[in-house]
Symmetry: C2
Subunit: 193 residues, 2 copies
């Protein structure tokens, strides 16, 4: 998934846990497994920077924000100018999309991955078309040894869900997605405060 432009200015790694459980700030609306094994059923999603969480847990996925991996300075500037942050009051719909890429992807050199990611699949360019409506934050977990490589978190207003679906359909039709072995699309709605 796309490097988050906010890490361009603040690239300090920060651990984030996404936990599927009985209760939480986000209610799970749907969970669709597109490729590979699914996750256990959960009712709510809790997003926290610490991992001191109470209550029964169905699953917990932990990952870190990090420095940019493919994004150029020109792309980062363009994204920064367009993007919106997390936590907007109108963005009460969220999506967590855990992704695992296959061994063939990771065996590629940096220039080969960049070529597929942006030059041929237009990952950064497609994502940018949906800014500022679709806010996102990318988290890495491949190097933590877990089952997924990336967790991408999205926030948007309910009326922009068709835009979000259109963006995903374009990404999923790209060459980059041929390297994806597991993908789960978890849609949530923020509970009233």
């Amino acid at each position: 998934m796309q490097d988050h432009p906010q890490t361009y200015a603040s690239a300090t790694p920060s651990l984030v846990s996404f936990t599927g459980q009985l209760q939480g700030e986000w209610t799970i609306r749907s969970m669709e497994t597109l490729t590979g094994a699914s996750l256990p059923i959960a009712q709510a999603l809790h997003v926290a920077s610490a991992d001191a969480l109470a209550g029964p847990v169905s699953w917990r996925l932990t990952a870190f924000t990090s420095n940019l991996r493919y994004t150029t300075a020109a792309e980062a500037s363009m994204l920064q100018a367009r993007q919106s942050g997390l936590g907007r009051s109108e963005a009460v719909h969220g999506a967590l999309i855990p992704i695992q890429k296959n061994a063939a992807w990771w065996a590629l050199a940096q220039d080969e991955r960049r070529e597929i990611y942006q030059e041929r699949s237009r990952h950064t360019s497609i994502g940018a078309e949906y800014l500022p409506q679709i806010a996102r934050r990318l988290h890495h977990c491949r190097d933590l040894g877990g089952p997924f490589d990336f967790l991408t978190w999205f926030e948007f207003a309910p009326e922009h869900e068709p835009l979000f679906d259109q963006m995903l359909a374009r990404m999923r039709a790209s060459e980059e997605w041929r390297y994806i072995d597991r993908e789960i699309d978890i849609r949530v709605v923020r509970n009233a405060a």
Copy 2:
């Protein structure tokens, strides 16, 4: 430090711990702190893929091998053709060099870091000149939240130590090294089996 060419073909993350302790397979010959804070004194270095280690420990640094971050396919092929592996019987001298880069480095976009790393500092090219005499393996730890960003492990025959020193002197004179906030040079000798 340089991406290890062996990860071009086998990019599965693997955790490695480097432990400073009283006894171990490598005796510490010297420990020179070039920049930033030092590490506690230790007599021996233990290198292990597991972390079930016995005995009193002075320090433990854990990091992971990973996919290539800057190396292109052409560079990786060149390195693969020249490189030597770890564990050569004649390579009884080793060096562990933990490095921390500063916030300015990590705030750069991917193309800006690549430009400094190779196009201006010739990191890959300089390292390649010292193959196959100087074997190396790069480990990442920035995203684990530890004090260092990289641990690079080198193995070479005693007669090639002047070559190794020359390589380090050239790297340390490069523009890339202006972004280094902490560097410790730990030299070890393998104990007789």
